[in-house]
């Protein structure tokens, strides 16, 4: 017998579950299950170096992760924060110009921002190695201008790593900020001007607050992958600029210490989660589309 509601429509009891099923299966297989495995691994210990780790509530992995790699954690989040700030400073004006002044060229301009990133991530990072190289044109120009000392260099410095992160994640800031700005009704700015607001005040009171959801989304899209990145630190940095991603890579591939690597990944996720919540509180996200 078919269930009917008071108006006589069929009650679909299974339909919502069926519709949810693919998503749930996906989430279970590719999110919860790996996360659970990772959590178990992070609490395992190894009887010997190459033996498969066994689960035994070994919390000391977390102790190790915190105490031994504090420096790399701090560095990762500092670099990621700096890169996020830098992308914001570069992306906001670009997105603003495209959204408000782009006219018929909007899509072309956006395309121009995105197209360079169709090149492989690794290749782009390696290209920076050539550009920033000690005998490269950039360093020579900066030396002759006196910006860099005669033996000054760019490659293998923190500046190169933060610069690489900024460059590689720039479009992730441009696109969401652009979407937020593009949604703003230009007549709101006109109204502000009619009420004697200066251009700057109209921007500060109208445009900026309305674009914050985009800034928030962009910051997350830049900050999280940047903090976990190891490619930029590996190719553009030195032994003094290693990030947590490099440590995880080393623990997995060289030390073969999967439990500590898993614990590091968990600590990383926890820090990211806490910073996202704090950031969301500060910026207010109820308006996020």
């Amino acid at each position: 017998m078919i269930d009917r509601d008071p108006e006589g429509r069929k009650r679909a009891r299974l339909a919502p579950w069926l519709l949810l099923a693919p998503g749930m299966v996906w989430l279970f297989l590719f999110f919860f299950f790996p996360l659970w495995t990772l959590a178990r691994m992070s609490l395992s210990s190894r009887p010997s170096r190459f033996a498969n780790p066994t689960f035994d509530w070994n919390w000391s992995n977390y102790g190790d992760a915190f105490s031994r790699y504090g420096e790399q954690f701090t560095r990762s989040f500092t670099y990621a924060a700096l890169a996020t700030l830098a992308t914001l400073c570069i992306a906001y004006p670009i997105a603003y110009v495209i959204a408000f002044r782009g006219g018929a060229w909007k899509n072309v301009l956006l395309g121009l921002c995105v197209v360079p990133f169709f090149t492989n991530y690794l290749i782009r990072t390696l290209a920076w190695k050539t550009i920033l190289g000690d005998q490269g044109p950039l360093v020579e120009a900066l030396r002759s201008l006196g910006v860099l000392a005669a033996d000054g260099r760019l490659l293998r410095t923190p500046l190169a790593v933060v610069g690489g992160l900024t460059y590689n994640f720039l479009p992730f800031m441009i696109l969401p900020v652009y979407v937020a700005l593009e949604k703003i009704d230009p007549r709101l700015v006109d109204a502000a001007r009619d009420l004697y607001a200066t251009t700057w005040r109209a921007f500060r009171k109208v445009v900026l607050p309305l674009s914050l959801p985009g800034v928030f989304a962009g910051s997350l899209l830049v900050f999280i992958p940047a903090a976990g990145d190891f490619v930029n630190a590996y190719y553009l940095g030195s032994a003094k600029t290693t990030m947590i991603g490099n440590v995880v890579q080393d623990q997995f591939l060289v030390q073969v210490d999967y439990p500590v690597a898993a614990a590091l990944s968990f600590v990383f996720m926890a820090i990211v989660m806490v910073s996202v919540v704090v950031y969301a509180r500060l910026l207010g996200t109820e308006d996020l589309a």
Partner: protein
């Protein structure tokens, strides 16, 4: 929470979302792929093919075709080894569960070969009956510590780790590790721990044949100080090749074969074996225990122990051949190949070999201490 959703401009936003996703995918994919590594199933099922993994640029592909012509055995040859540790991480999940890795032959450096042979027993004996050319193995390589009878392994190529430098940047020749550290400019060492720490140990007069962590400690301290003072600015694999040629590096710890290949085009790049000696190493052919084509894989390695084929391989890769009789065959090949006979990095004299060191085996516990200390200096430990 206020749900304020605008429905205008969906088209463009949808476009943006999609391009964002696409972009995200393109940016993340290499990282993910790098983490997973390329898979690949070994050989067909007819039993007349072998699947081999080797390092990049480590063969003349024509030799594989010649092997197939002569024996009728097809070769699936994959250049997917870039780093011993990385490759180990890739094969470990399967081999530790006794599952196939889809390969019948792999090529790994001495210490990793030792780990697979002695510590983990993940390889099977070579099929002697299929390798009559084993008699051509050079005497010096016949009984290494990790495989006394060469039951499980045969060297593919050998090389020497020393110092490479760009004379235009350094302005001076480099003959010792201390000169290397003192010279102006950007310098790097290798991420391969045994090569880097071995060279430094040898320069301090520390024996590397039977290394222990205590003996190596002063060498680690010296390396650490050099990294801290900025006298060594980085660690790398063979990325140094391009940087040296371009002058972005003044000097680097380097592998002989790579440098032999650069110096062909760029005479400013020079290679020196330090006066205290270089590090001598071999990459070894091994058959994983899960392969059921050990006989065919053995025939494949046998082919490269024929001096004529070995010489063609040497002419291409310019490392040191483990096969006797290669110089004569190189002369027969004539042209550039014949000139290699006079290059001590390709055809070393006994006296040249004697001034180099071999990094002896490390026990599991010791190796762990070495690796940890090295990572610490690398900034990841």
């Amino acid at each position: 929470m206020t749900a304020r959703r605008s429905h205008t401009g969906i088209g463009r936003r949808e476009f943006l979302t999609r391009s964002g996703l696409l972009l995200g995918g393109t940016a993340l994919a290499p990282t993910l792929l790098a983490a997973c590594g390329g898979g690949g199933d070994g050989g067909g099922g007819d039993g007349r093919s072998v699947s081999i993994s080797n390092w990049t640029s480590y063969i003349d592909p024509a030799l594989n075709r010649a092997f197939t012509r002569r024996t009728g055995i097809k070769v699936t040859y994959t250049e997917d080894i870039n780093d011993n540790n990385e490759y180990f991480a890739k094969i470990r999940p399967n081999l530790s569960r006794n599952q196939s890795i889809g390969r019948d032959g792999i090529v790994l450096t001495d210490w990793m070969a030792s780990r697979l042979i002695n510590e983990l027993r993940w390889v099977q004996p070579l099929v002697e009956a299929e390798i009559p050319n084993k008699k051509n193995l050079r005497a010096a390589l016949r009984s290494p510590g990790f495989d006394r009878e060469r039951t499980y392994s045969l060297p593919w190529q050998s090389g020497v780790t020393g110092i490479a430098y760009n004379i235009d940047v350094t302005g001076t020749e480099i003959r010792t590790i201390d000169e290397f550290l003192a010279v102006e400019g950007t310098k790097t060492v290798l991420t391969e721990m045994r090569d880097t720490i071995g060279l430094i140990m040898a320069s301090m007069g520390i024996d590397t044949d039977e290394p222990t962590f205590e003996k190596a400690a002063p060498a680690f301290d010296k390396l650490e100080r050099a990294v801290r003072d900025g006298r060594i600015s980085g660690f790398n694999g063979n990325e140094y090749v391009n940087d040296l040629g371009a002058g972005n590096l003044a000097a680097a710890f380097a592998w002989s074969g790579d440098v032999a290949q650069i110096t062909r085009d760029n005479p400013k790049v020079r290679f020196a074996v330090p006066e205290s000696g270089g590090m001598l190493w071999s990459d070894n052919f091994l058959i994983p225990k899960t392969s059921n084509r050990a006989g065919l894989a053995s025939r494949w390695i046998n082919f490269f122990y024929d001096p004529a084929n070995a010489a063609r391989l040497t002419a291409e890769v310019q490392f040191i051949s483990p096969v006797e009789g290669v110089p004569e065959q190189l002369r027969k090949l004539g042209g550039d190949a014949a000139k290699l006979v006079d290059n001590p990095l390709v055809v070393p004299t006994e006296e040249f070999l004697a001034q180099n060191h071999i990094f002896g085996p490390l026990s599991g516990k010791e190796e762990e201490r070495f690796d940890e200390r090295f990572s610490q200096i690398l900034g990841t430990g």
